[in-house]
């Protein structure tokens, strides 16, 4: 469904993605993991067409989204649902209006029909009857669920999740994880989840890809990743402070930035 070939991206001359290759199959849940600054969020932004690569291609159903015009991208994005890190609800709108937003933006559906769709979507995330509440009246976990209801409002083929467990307690994270798995299986949705939380990653992934310094260093099923002999992968999944992953990016770069030599 999505194939990334040799994706390269630089910001201010610094290489953030240095030749990413990745394939995501229809219906699978692919977890992209890695430490802060490894490029996983940058990769996600390329996959949804917010960033254009410096090199390489991103094929969605065989078509390179990196070469699409904005109008073509808009048409493709209708097939995408995105759950942002914070849920990204509009605080001035009710829960129901937030879920209705993509329907109002991307369709000419009648208001009565939109109201019914909102009810169906809220039921899917376990929030039936919450449509008239304001975001400020619900918990962080509920906001994520509303964000998810909004992400699936247009019946997307793919849902992208950016750190779905960020800022949530472990139980709420587990609830969101189960919802991601449920929706993927029930609706046949392809899911791409960016996270650095290992428990979640192993819980939800059909396959996982680990990024390090802008490259995919391992791809496989949770079992294959767990059994990986790569010390970088092992350090990351065990959360060990000691190992090959350096704490500082580059002391040389640091000294150069201070002294200019």
């Amino acid at each position: 469904m999505i194939t990334v070939n040799n994706l390269v991206k630089k910001f201010d001359g610094r290489t953030v993605l240095s030749g990413i290759n990745l394939e995501v199959k229809t219906g699978e849940t692919m977890v992209i993991m890695g430490g802060s600054g490894c490029g996983k969020s940058t990769l996600l932004r390329h996959l949804v067409g917010y960033y254009r690569p410096d090199q390489g291609e991103i094929l969605f159903d065989g078509k390179d989204i990196a070469k699409m015009t904005e109008a073509q991208l808009d048409a493709v994005r209708k097939k995408f649902g995105i759950l942002f890190q914070s849920g990204a609800l509009l605080n001035s709108l009710s829960v129901g209006e937030n879920v209705a937003l993509p329907l109002r933006e991307h369709s000419d559906l009648n208001d009565e029909i939109i109201k019914i769709i909102v009810k169906i979507k809220l039921e899917l995330v376990g929030l039936t009857g919450f449509e008239n509440l304001m975001p400020s009246q619900i918990s962080g976990g509920m906001k994520k669920r509303v964000g998810l209801a909004r992400a699936i409002a247009l019946d997307p083929q793919i849902v992208f999740y950016d750190e779905p467990g960020a800022g949530l307690d472990p139980i709420t994270t587990a609830v969101i994880d189960r919802l991601i798995v449920d929706l993927s299986k029930k609706l046949g949705i392809t899911s791409i989840v960016v996270t650095h939380e290992m428990k979640s990653a192993f819980r939800i992934a059909d396959r996982m890809a680990m990024l390090y310094e802008g490259k995919v260093i391992a791809v496989g099923t949770p079992d294959e990743i767990r059994d990986s002999s790569n010390p970088l992968v092992q350090q990351f999944i065990t959360g060990s402070a000691d190992g090959p992953v350096p704490l500082r990016r580059s002391s040389e770069e640091y000294i150069k930035s201070l002294t200019g030599v």
Binding site: L109, N110, I113, I117, I120, E123
Partner: protein
């Protein structure tokens, strides 16, 4: 594009839909249903034998029709759901709300 053929069977108005039911086509079905659902004690069956895909706007369109029909003492039934279409109803837990028949021949 979508095609809707209307026929009569055992006192039911049967709307046979041909095509995909999505954001673009569900308003056509809604239009076709609107006038019929207002009539008292109307019985409307939607034949989905030739429908390979239905999205949430399609589900919502049928629910709205059901609401209108119930007000006038009418009925709605669905026929000929393929496995994938039926699955969409099941996921939204709507399979128990609608009377679902294998084919329009089962309408009584």
């Amino acid at each position: 594009m979508i095609k809707i053929d209307v026929s009569e069977k055992n006192g039911w108005a049967v709307l046979a839909v041909d095509g995909q039911i999505d954001l673009h086509t569900s308003p056509d079905i809604r239009k076709e249903l609107a006038g019929r659902a207002k009539a008292k004690k109307a019985r409307i069956a939607i034949d989905l034998t030739r429908v390979s895909y239905i999205d949430s706007s399609g589900l919502a369109t049928f629910i709205e029709a059901m609401q209108k029909l119930k007000k006038g003492g009418g009925e709605i039934a669905l026929c000929g759901l393929s496995e994938s279409v039926r699955h969409v109803f099941e996921v939204a837990r709507l399979d128990s709300i609608f009377a679902i028949h294998a084919s329009s021949d089962d309408l009584k």
